[in-house]
Chain length 270, copies 2
DNA sequence: GCAATAGTGTCTCTTAGACAGTATGAG
DNA sequence: CTCATACTGTCTAAGAGACACTATTGC
């Protein structure tokens, strides 16, 4: 910000700010888009909405919207703008977003996309967020959307998303797959308490790879502060029998050590 | 982008775009800031510039500038805007930025910062980049800056940078420390060929931690596609004697396996 | 009873950490 | 000659992959 300062050169800060006219420069917009993943019927799904309006009317894209001030003229933070998309379209109650430790929704910034021409209207920089949530109800389209669905990611390769949202989705997927290795974020796909079998299903679904259950069990139980025993078990065995499984909850770890590595031959590129 | 579409509701895309007026909305600016690290005199340094103009005139900050169109009205990509800062203020020639494999400069996006009030002029979203370069000449202040220096990061804790650049710098440092573990980016701090001792010095400088040289050597040599032997050695031993060291160059690996882990008791939080 | 799931144990191979030891060569 | 540095080797403990085995329970 040293160079290119849009400055009149005055030395008095207050006088400078009073005289500053932001409208003198070429307009540029910022949007916030969200790739929200959940697991439904053992398939990794992403929240997709169908656009009601041009550009790309009728096309699918990730939920998002322009960053702009509320009625009082105040802008939200980027994370608040992303969270607002989740509340509006995924039926997530705002409470779950607050306590980052609660078994609610995980939300993190993915990156920004600003290639010229990515939006036909004008120069638009999009700040993309990545979110994980436990199984959620059917989504409701917000304003500007005609439809909202949980779209299996296996299916997204056949559908071209509007803008550069294919790229954002690909980056979000790569980040998600990588983060399961060395962070406890897999638990963000599960409710507050869960079994090791359910946790394994998350890893298998996201990685698209079968894991050996005894080894998986040993790894997650050895990872420091990853899983805490609740002392309770499930009420009944699985659909086709089996013992009742112990219930765990996520521990305070923010980084897994040792990590839960995917098979070396499919090493994930981040 | 489904919701909040700044749309007139027309169904014809061309008519919509022709009628679209971007100036009808509250102005918002985007800046691109860069945290460029290098190693000088065995100290990790970051490029800092002193602001010539308000706001924060006279304060240190990271190099950066507004994202805006060139004379032809075309916006650069975000990465191009970041690269332009490096060319202008760090004396990096543009060639080194092109070939990402060349022993030039590493440039990656760090994240975006958009808290309201972070810039007193108006709403500003900053897209921050992280860059590493081998030892560089003394920097030259670009337009809008009165001074440009390589500032040892140990010293930055005493200096408050303008805007929220303290936060950006802290995030950049954390990312850098973490990435040395599982990517070959340490080589970006070194010229095209280097010794294992020099590579170890990079790790020790960035992590602020002494490493056992025999173990370090084994780890980096076992990491697949990390280091290739050039077949040459240094011209002479160290300042105080010793054999001539083998020279290596960076291999094609983009992810290190196995990773070069820092001591477990200082496990790095990403 | 069958079959699927939960959970334990064990064997082998590889790697990490710690550090001893040898060779080189600038001052 | 001295001593920091380059490089090799060795010992031990721990973890990973593979898989055998027991226990539980819904249908």
């Amino acid at each position: 910000m040293s160079d290119e300062t849009q400055s009149t050169g005055r030395t008095n800060e207050e006088a400078f700010l009073a005289a500053y006219d932001p409208r003198a420069y070429t307009p540029l917009a910022v949007t916030v888009d969200v790739a929200l993943f959940t697991i439904r019927a053992r398939a990794l799904c992403v929240l997709a909405v169908r656009r009601a309006n041009p550009p790309f009317a009728g096309h699918w894209c990730l939920p998002g919207g322009f960053l702009r001030p509320d009625d009082d003229g105040r802008f939200p933070t980027l994370a608040q703008a992303a969270a607002a998309r989740l509340v509006a379209e995924a039926g997530i109650n705002a409470d779950a977003l607050e306590g980052s430790d609660a078994p609610g929704v995980h939300l993190e910034q993915l990156g920004s996309y600003g290639d010229p021409g990515r939006d036909p209207r004008m120069a638009v920089v999009s700040v993309a967020y990545l979110a994980f949530a436990p199984n959620l109800p059917d989504p409701t389209p917000g304003a500007g959307a005609t439809e909202a669905v949980w779209m299996p990611v296996a299916q997204t390769s056949e559908i071209h998303l509007a803008f550069d949202h294919d790229q954002i989705l690909a980056d979000a997927l790569a980040r998600t797959r990588g983060k399961l290795e060395y962070t406890p974020l897999a638990t963000a796909f599960l409710p507050g308490s869960f079994t090791i079998g359910e946790l394994q299903a998350v890893y298998e679904t996201v990685w698209g790879e079968k894991l050996i259950s005894s080894d998986f069990r040993r790894k997650v139980r050895h990872a420091k502060d990853f899983l805490f025993l609740t002392g309770r078990t499930t009420d009944r065995g699985g659909d086709r029998g089996g013992p009742r499984a112990e219930l765990f909850r996520a521990g305070p770890a923010r980084l897994l050590y040792p990590p839960i590595l995917a098979a070396a031959n499919e090493r994930l590129v981040r």
